[in-house]
């Protein structure tokens, strides 16, 4: 795996382009907060697509890599705040994997800001809106993710048994 410099893969932002953000939200906190954002009608950008998991600790690093490979420009993991996990400490497992994963994607030539982990409690509807807007804004500045470098390096790096990036 060789790091690709950001400048080399930065491509011009096409007209009307909007980032695609895949959000893995835990059932108890972040997903509930996203529902509450709807109930409160906290209007925000439509770049986020939420995939519900029971716990942020369920987010397999391969889910994240797969999302980038399949066309996501950013991946957001929404977890409970420290100490709030419905399953004791799934969020800290997510944090451990996240830290490694940021380094892994950087090595794959993906800007680490494209992956975010946020603690969002079930009551923090406003935080869902704010995080979505902030992430969208950052990705708009970064532009679309060039997958050419990433996919080829992922292919050369991946081992046949698929026992890759585990945190």
């Amino acid at each position: 795996m060789t790091a690709v410099s950001s400048a080399a893969k930065r491509q011009p932002v096409p007209e009307g382009w909007t980032p695609r953000i895949v959000a893995f939200f835990c059932h108890w906190c972040a997903y509930s907060a996203a529902d509450l954002a709807g109930v409160d009608r906290r209007t925000h950008c439509s770049d986020l697509r939420v995939i519900r998991v029971m716990c942020s600790g369920r987010v397999d690093p391969q889910f994240v890599l797969d999302a980038f490979a399949k066309g996501a420009d950013g991946v957001l993991i929404g977890a409970c705040h420290p100490g709030d996990c419905h399953y004791v400490d799934g969020n800290s497992k997510a944090l451990r994997r996240f830290v490694l994963l940021r380094r892994t994607i950087e090595a794959l030539g993906i800007e680490p800001e494209r992956l975010r982990l946020e603690g969002i409690s079930a009551s923090e509807a406003e935080r869902v809106r704010a995080v979505a807007e902030a992430m969208s804004e950052r990705l708009r500045a970064l532009g679309p993710l060039s997958r050419r470098a990433f996919v080829s390096s992922a292919e050369t790096a991946s081992d046949p048994n698929g026992e890759g990036a585990h945190g």
């Binding site: 995939i51 066309g71 100490g83 991946s158 585990h166 945190g167």
Partner: protein, 690 residues
């Protein structure tokens, strides 16, 4: 897969909730072109009988074996649609919902992008549901006993209702007496019944009920388990008095040799003092004294003559008592921990804590109470009797600086106190209000009654309370400065006493209990109900119900109604005796397990064991809660999870991102099981099936 997927897609308008922002017809049309989709329809209300019948008819007539419903959050109607599938003979887990209301239509305004998002979410669901498999619902036994946390009016009513249904209740109260805030009130609005006359019989009933175990001076320390099988650790503080021996004769209180300043009596809002050995209040239940180790000389000076022990004819004092823990097992929990009055010190402009004659409404409740510190006489802190009284509404409520919400009871509390103060003192009473909210039954009528008492009403938010006299009539008085928005004049009203009608705040420690119980709070800090209309006493955690002011400000009538409702939910669980557990548990595929045991420390519930002879890990389904931490952590991909299997999530991702990006030709995942590569990757599969 035994049967090729035959998927039906149903897009809900939700009246106009969804269809106003999302082009539902376009979403259905888009879904029709997706692989394995046999039918795609849109309908006004999918959750209605007619909507459900539509799905059920398609299941029977078109032989559907998978269903996608694009509608509201699965938190809301997933159970509804699962039931519909089941009654049409399909396993309820062959359903996937796409949340296009809360997470799409309600947060976007641009129709085009909202519709595009809905199409993406539906496509993800279609890809995912193809890999759903029938799952068997595990039934768990429900323990019949119920834990009620909080012994205020809501907790007592819930406990009595459950106990009257023949189920055993543990009622845990932090203070040394039950009764809660209501025990402080003199009268209740709008009928002006004596508060204690309503409550005292209930308190006695709680104490004497054969089905209620009452623990005062106790707190819930830890709760673990799940619906039907909660285990709770209750920490019981030492009261240094044997509850079974003390008869509340108070001879020990008289005999106590404490010689320091009296300790502010919390029940009387600090308006009177008590000794280190005390009865929480005159009508406390249980009528048992308690010793405060923070002031008792036996603790602070390492010993005294203990005259209390000498006078006690029943040998009830026990200075060797230590806190202890009770462990109980219950099927469900009712949380009724109440509220905290807003701390009036925060609103500095009203001078509470600065001017002695500024009182909070809670203090006035004690001041006018026949069993209060002045036996109901309104005598001010400086010993005088007020000739003019100003009652200020909305203190700490409807104020962006403190609590933005309306506390719902303060207008009526202020009217009640105005009426009582007028009656007891003959003083001129001025009310300063923003809007008069007397919405409950009999409340507008009570307002009219108080208007006829001759009480003065000034509409306007008070700017400040000060003691700065501009003319002799204001000398020695508190001056209320306010803009009277009815007349358009700025007024200065001199009074002898100011009453701040304080609103309701969440309890300052509500966050700790929220974590212990794994329930959520709304943005205001009160516990959040599962759904305001569909499950107003439920929480996101099954088997935990909320009642009273811990859920939000409300009056006594509403608290009692809600407590009855929470009790009914607890009784329903208890009577049914079993509960359907979501089959989202994980299991190890033995052939793939390398026996590395990476998963074992990941499980917070100790559900994973290691079988020595075969060298494989095993998951105990009874302990597994389905968090999926082990599934994500298994380096061999040997752990599968119901409803959240790797393959299902990868499929959801594929659907979601279909057509996105430039390099989306391949999957980065090397360990998708072979079955998944059959996952339709092109429209070809769909057209072949159609």
């Amino acid at each position: 897969m035994a049967d090729a997927p035959r998927i039906g897609v149903y897009v809900c308008h939700c009246g106009a909730n969804i269809s106003a922002t999302v082009d539902v017809a376009a979403v259905a049309a888009d879904a029709e072109s997706l692989p394995n989709v046999v039918a795609a329809r849109h309908y006004t209300y999918m959750c209605s009988d007619a909507g459900l019948a539509l799905v059920q008819a398609d299941i029977r007539e078109l032989g559907l074996n998978r269903v996608v419903v694009a509608a509201c959050s699965p938190h809301l109607h997933e159970p509804t649609f699962r039931r519909a599938l089941a009654s049409a003979g399909l396993n309820p887990h062959l359903l996937q919902m796409a949340n296009i209301r809360e997470q799409d239509a309600w947060i976007h305004t641009d129709r085009e992008s909202a519709t595009r998002k809905a199409c993406d979410l539906v496509r993800a669901a279609v890809h995912r549901v193809a890999l759903h498999t029938p799952l068997d619902i595990r039934k768990a036994a429900v323990r019949p006993d119920v834990l009620v946390i909080g012994g205020g009016i809501a907790g007592m009513h819930a406990a009595l209702t459950v106990a009257n249904a023949g189920k055993h209740v543990y009622l845990v109260e932090r203070e040394f007496s039950i009764g809660g805030q209501m025990a402080r009130y003199d009268k209740t609005f709008p009928t002006l019944d004596c508060s204690l006359c309503i409550q005292a019989p209930k308190m006695t009933a709680v104490r004497t009920h054969e089905n209620i175990t009452l623990w005062t001076g106790s707190e819930v320390e830890e709760v673990y388990g799940h619906v039907g099988d909660y285990r709770a650790r209750i920490r019981r503080r030492a009261r240094y008095v044997d509850e079974n021996l003390c008869v509340g004769c108070l001879q020990c209180v008289d005999a106590c040799c404490y010689d320091g300043d009296l300790i502010p009596d919390a029940f009387n809002m600090g308006l009177s003092g008590r000794k280190p050995i005390y009865l929480p209040f005159a009508h406390a239940v249980p009528t048992v004294v308690a010793v405060d180790p923070g002031s008792c000389l036996n603790f602070t000076r390492g010993g005294c003559d203990r005259p209390c022990t000498d006078v006690c004819g029943r040998d009830a004092l026990d200075f060797d008592q230590t806190p202890w823990v009770e462990e109980i097992e219950v099927g469900s929990i009712v949380v009724a921990t109440g509220f905290e009055p807003f701390d009036a010190r925060k609103a500095t402009e009203y001078g509470y804590g600065i001017y002695p004659n500024v009182y909070t409404s809670m203090e006035v409740e004690r001041l006018i109470n026949a069993s209060g510190p002045t036996a109901g006489e309104v005598i001010l802190r400086d010993g005088t009797r007020p000739q003019a009284i100003g009652v200020i509404y909305c203190v700490g409520s409807r104020d962006e600086r403190y609590n933005p919400w309306c506390s719902r009871v303060c207008c009526m509390t202020a009217l009640k106190l105005s009426h009582l103060l007028c009656e007891r003192t003959g003083a001129e009473v001025y009310n300063f209000y923003i809007d008069m909210r007397a919405a409950g039954k009999g409340q507008e009528e009570f307002y009219q009654r108080v208007l006829n008492d001759g009480v003065q009403f000034v509409r306007g938010k008070v700017a400040e309370v000060c003691d700065w006299a501009l003319d002799p009539s204001e000398e020695g008085k508190l001056v209320i400065r306010v803009e009277d928005t009815m007349t358009g004049y700025v007024r200065r009203v001199p009074v002898d006493m100011v009453v701040l009608t304080v609103g309701m705040s969440p309890r300052s420690d509500s966050d700790e209990l929220r974590r212990t119980l794994n329930v959520g709070c709304s943005g205001d800090g009160f516990y959040r109900e599962r759904h305001a209309k569909l499950a107003p006493v439920g929480t996101l955690t099954d088997g935990i119900f909320i009642a009273g002011c811990c859920q939000g400000p409300k009056d006594i009538s509403d608290s009692v109604s809600q407590a009855g409702s929470a009790a009914a939910e607890a009784i329903a669980l208890s009577v049914k005796g079993s509960y359907d557990l979501d089959p989202i548990t994980a299991r190890v595929v033995a052939e793939s397990c390398s026996g590395c045991r990476v998963c074992m420390p990941l499980c917070p519930f100790g559900a994973i064991g290691y079988a020595e002879p075969g060298g494989k890990c095993e998951i105990n389904a009874a302990l597994c809660t389905g968090c999926g931490a082990c599934v994500a952590g298994c380096p061999s991909g040997a752990i599968r999870q119901g409803m959240f299997d790797d393959a299902q999530v990868f499929a959801e991702l594929s659907g979601l991102l279909l057509g996105a990006g430039s390099g989306s030709s391949g999957s980065a995942s090397g360990r998708v099981p072979p079955a998944v590569s059959l996952q339709p990757s092109a429209e070809a599969t769909g057209s072949a099936l159609r």
